[in-house]
């Protein structure tokens, strides 16, 4: 008995020693709003998967906070055969966290898994279907054979489903095991995952980009914004990552000593889209009138505390396809009334706006929009839905009211990724509209390999959707990070994929 106690004491002392050694170089705690449930890259499309997993996995290409595409696990690449073949030279001497070497076989395995049976179960495969096959040329060279040129593919290789996974490890332990014990080549490795509680990451000193400055990072899942902010205030959390902090809490954080809000323009855009098939919104003039009735700048200034920007089409200013020349519809209630009159809409006409019930900020925005519509004689009621119900049932089935909220992330910063899914006939997010001209342009731009030419085509699409007033574009949002002053070297990532390699903490 006594011996046992002595042993326990010695162990405790030893572990205390190792703990103090760890805290010397620094550990960081991050609050993230959601547990993705599985860490397998092919299982998810959640931004909160990416915000953590970007530290654990690498892709062939890498895109940091400056949004430039730079080499990742591939050191260089070239387009061959009119863009239908991509050749990648792979980085040498890279190992996975479990010691397995990274080579051409790992790339081939990753993409065959993504495009095969296992990938078909998840939501990622459809982003990469342009890849027909992956051919191993030698240990550190691979060729991607494409069925058609995909202008966004190189960007897509920097994230989500294209993260390179270890073939030996997965074959040995199986997919189920990999979901909660993932292994990648990234700067941090996952050492402990407690579902719905937290994930502990330790630095992977052998990372090809150099060892991270931190020793360990803990991601805690805190879905309730006020809890996350309270933890930040009390110092138990160092960084709160988006999308957590509601606009209304910016002052709460900035008024508190030692913490601050850091914001950066993000690709996230919000719009109120129209049912173009039935109701008064089937009339283009009515849609235009509604857009003109709403003073979107006033909404941004007051409710969004300036953390946003008016958009003319459904994309942010950093998006490829954004046209600085394209002006948003002006705020012009006079003209709106006139248009409504021409369309034969009687004052007092009713419309319904479907919104996500748990989105407090948008709830306020929707009420202001309704008030502006009231100003031109349209009675708008607001119908809140549980978010998953709205996204999985109401919108795809075309069961919305005349108008509905659409929030869109667009992490590829390419308008194709938004426009195709929003406007092409038969797409999930396009339950009402079908426009041959639009379909033609959307298909055509995918085949264009010349960047400038494709950009012009995307801008043409944006202009076309604006003319038809397919949605009421509202604003692009800033990503809000809550950051403690003890965090050094923090650079906010516009796409939420915050890599912590260069971050350190001061005591």
């Amino acid at each position: 008995m006594k011996n046992k106690r002595a042993l326990a004491k010695a162990l405790a002392a030893a572990s205390a020693l190792s703990v103090s050694a760890v805290s010397q170089a620094g550990s960081l705690t991050v609050a993230t709003p959601q547990d993705p449930g599985s860490w397998d890259p092919i299982d998810t499309f959640l931004v909160n998967w990416a915000s953590l997993a970007t530290n654990v996995f690498d892709g062939l290409t890498y895109r940091g906070p400056d949004l430039e595409l730079v080499p990742g696990l591939a050191t260089r690449w070239e387009e061959l055969d009119d863009g239908t073949r991509l050749r990648f030279e792979l980085r040498e001497g890279v190992t996975f966290h479990n010691g397995e070497p990274f080579d051409a076989e790992a790339v081939k395995f990753t993409f065959e898994r993504l495009l095969g049976e296992e990938g078909a179960k998840g939501p990622q495969r459809s982003n990469y279907t342009a890849i027909e096959s992956v051919e191993v040329i030698d240990d550190h060279t691979v060729d991607f054979h494409l069925s058609e040129p995909d202008p966004v593919l190189l960007t897509k290789l920097a994230g989500y489903g294209a993260m390179i996974v270890p073939p030996g490890y997965i074959q040995e332990h199986g997919d189920e095991h990999f979901n909660s014990n993932p292994v990648g080549t990234g700067p941090f490795k996952i050492v402990d995952y407690r579902p719905r509680e937290d994930v502990r990451l330790e630095a992977f000193a052998e990372h090809w980009g150099g060892a991270p400055k931190l020793d360990s990072v803990t991601y805690r899942f805190i879905s309730e914004p006020s809890t996350a902010v309270a933890e930040l205030q009390s110092g138990r959390v160092d960084i709160v990552i988006p999308p957590t902090i509601p606009i209304g809490m910016i002052d709460t954080i900035n008024n508190h000593d030692g913490i601050r809000v850091v914001s950066v323009p993000s690709p996230t855009v919000e719009a109120i889209r129209f049912n173009t098939q039935s109701g008064i919104t089937a009339d283009e003039k009515v849609r235009q009138a509604m857009i003109m009735a709403v003073d979107r700048q006033a909404i941004i200034d007051s409710i969004l505390a300036g953390e946003g920007k008016v958009i003319a089409s459904f994309q942010s200013a950093q998006s490829f396809g954004h046209d600085p020349e394209l002006e948003p519809y002006p705020h012009d209630p006079e003209r709106a009334r006139q248009l409504l009159d021409e369309a034969g809409v009687e004052p007092g006409a009713n419309v319904q706006i479907d919104v996500r019930g748990n989105d407090a900020t948008f709830g306020e925005v929707a009420q202001v929009v309704a008030a502006y519509l009231q100003g031109v004689g349209i009675n708008a009621s607001i119908q809140p839905y549980e978010t998953n119900v709205l996204l999985n049932d109401i919108i795809p089935a075309g069961r919305t009211g005349e108008m509905f909220q659409q929030k869109w992330g667009g992490w590829t910063f390419d308008y194709d990724n938004t426009a195709y899914l929003m406007y092409h006939t038969g797409e999930r997010w396009n339950p009402y509209d079908s426009d041959e001209e639009l379909d033609r342009m959307l298909n055509a731009q995918r085949g264009i390999t010349d960047r400038a030419e494709r950009e012009a085509m995307l801008q043409e699409i944006a202009r076309y959707t604006q003319e038809r007033a397919l949605e009421m574009p509202l604003y692009s949002l800033n990503a809000l990070y809550g950051v403690s002053d003890r965090v050094q070297g923090f650079e906010p990532a516009p796409d939420n994929r915050l890599r912590l390699t260069d971050v350190s903490v001061s005591e």
């Binding site: 914004p225 006020s226 509601p246 606009i247 209304g248 809490m249 002052d251 709460t252 008024n255 006033a298 007051s302 409710i303 996500r356 019930g357 748990n358 989105d359 407090a360 900020t361 709830g363 306020e364 929707a366 009420q367 202001v368 309704a370 008030a371 009621s381 607001i382 119908q383 809140p384 839905y385 549980e386 119900v389 049932d393």
Partner: protein, 283 residues
């Protein structure tokens, strides 16, 4: 016939009763008069006046909400939705529950088994799960919310009534009624019902309070009514993010819920003591 056992009038001086009736009566009166007190309806959005603290402007004694609307007007008008939901759903649930409970307890056998097993299934469903499913399929809104609450709560009454019927139906007055050939409907509603209505009424007062809280939590979760129509739960949710910078937005509707529920509970307590002088056992 009514075997209510009113104790002496001293009970009326009971502190619980006075406070309860003052709270509930006062709040109900304010809500009834709200149309006259606040003709604007508290729905005028004024972004220049957002988040004014209480007493900062004489026009806004309780301050304004994030959209610059008068908080006092919204708290008073918001009570209408909350009370409507609370009272209507309790009434609906009582009516269904009484009929089901009477029939089930009196006839027994297969009917009893069907009703009670159905009730068990109903009780096994978590309320929030039921609510999310219901609203996804049928849609939200005031009427649907009331229907949802009725569906989820009639069971309590049915079980209570059935229990009482089981203990009453072998008593002499029922047996004699049966013996002289009184029709079943008459036995159920004229002989059994008055003898078991006491606990049901008490349960109902508590239920109204509970329903107001449920309405609040449903609206808080965003499953309830149009957010531009003020309701206490909705206002509470709206103010949540401003708690540290503009406490008044959620504190006042929260206070309104607290006082109403307190008042109703006090009345329920008093009713329980009054209707059940033998002790605090039946609930």
């Amino acid at each position: 016939m009514l075997s209510l056992n009113f104790p002496s009038l001293r009970r009326f001086k009971n502190f619980e009763f006075i406070l309860g009736i003052l709270l509930v009566g006062g709040i109900a009166a304010a809500i009834l008069l709200s149309g006259w007190l606040f003709p604007g309806g508290g729905s005028d959005i004024n972004l220049a006046m957002r988040l004014l603290p209480p007493m900062a402007e004489s026009a806004y004694p309780l301050g304004t909400d994030p959209l610059g609307r008068d908080l006092l007007a919204r708290v008073v008008i918001g009570g209408e939705i909350s009370l409507k939901v609370g009272v209507y759903s309790a009434l609906g649930a009582v009516m269904i529950g009484i009929v089901m409970g009477l029939v089930s307890g009196y006839y027994g056998g297969i009917i009893d088994m069907l009703v009670m097993r159905f009730a068990d299934v109903q009780l096994a469903l978590p309320f929030i799960l039921l609510a999310i499913t219901f609203i996804a399929v049928i849609g939200g809104g005031l009427t649907n919310m009331i229907i949802l609450l009725i569906i989820s709560q009639w069971v309590q009454y049915a079980r209570l009534v059935r229990g009482s019927v089981l203990s009453l139906k072998d008593r002499e007055f029922i047996l004699s009624a049966q013996a002289i050939g009184v029709r079943d409907v008459r036995i159920l509603f004229q002989h059994l019902l008055p003898n078991l209505i006491g606990p049901v009424i008490v349960l109902m007062t508590l239920n109204v309070a509970n329903n107001i809280l449920l309405e609040s939590s449903l609206t808080f979760l965003g499953l309830g009514v149009d957010p531009s129509v003020p309701s206490w739960g909705g206002m509470l949710a709206e103010g949540r993010t401003y708690l540290q910078t503009a406490w008044w937005v959620s504190v006042f509707p929260g206070l309104a819920i607290l006082l109403t529920v307190l008042g109703l509970n006090l009345l329920g307590d008093w009713l329980r003591d009054t209707l059940d002088p033998t002790g605090r056992t039946s609930l």
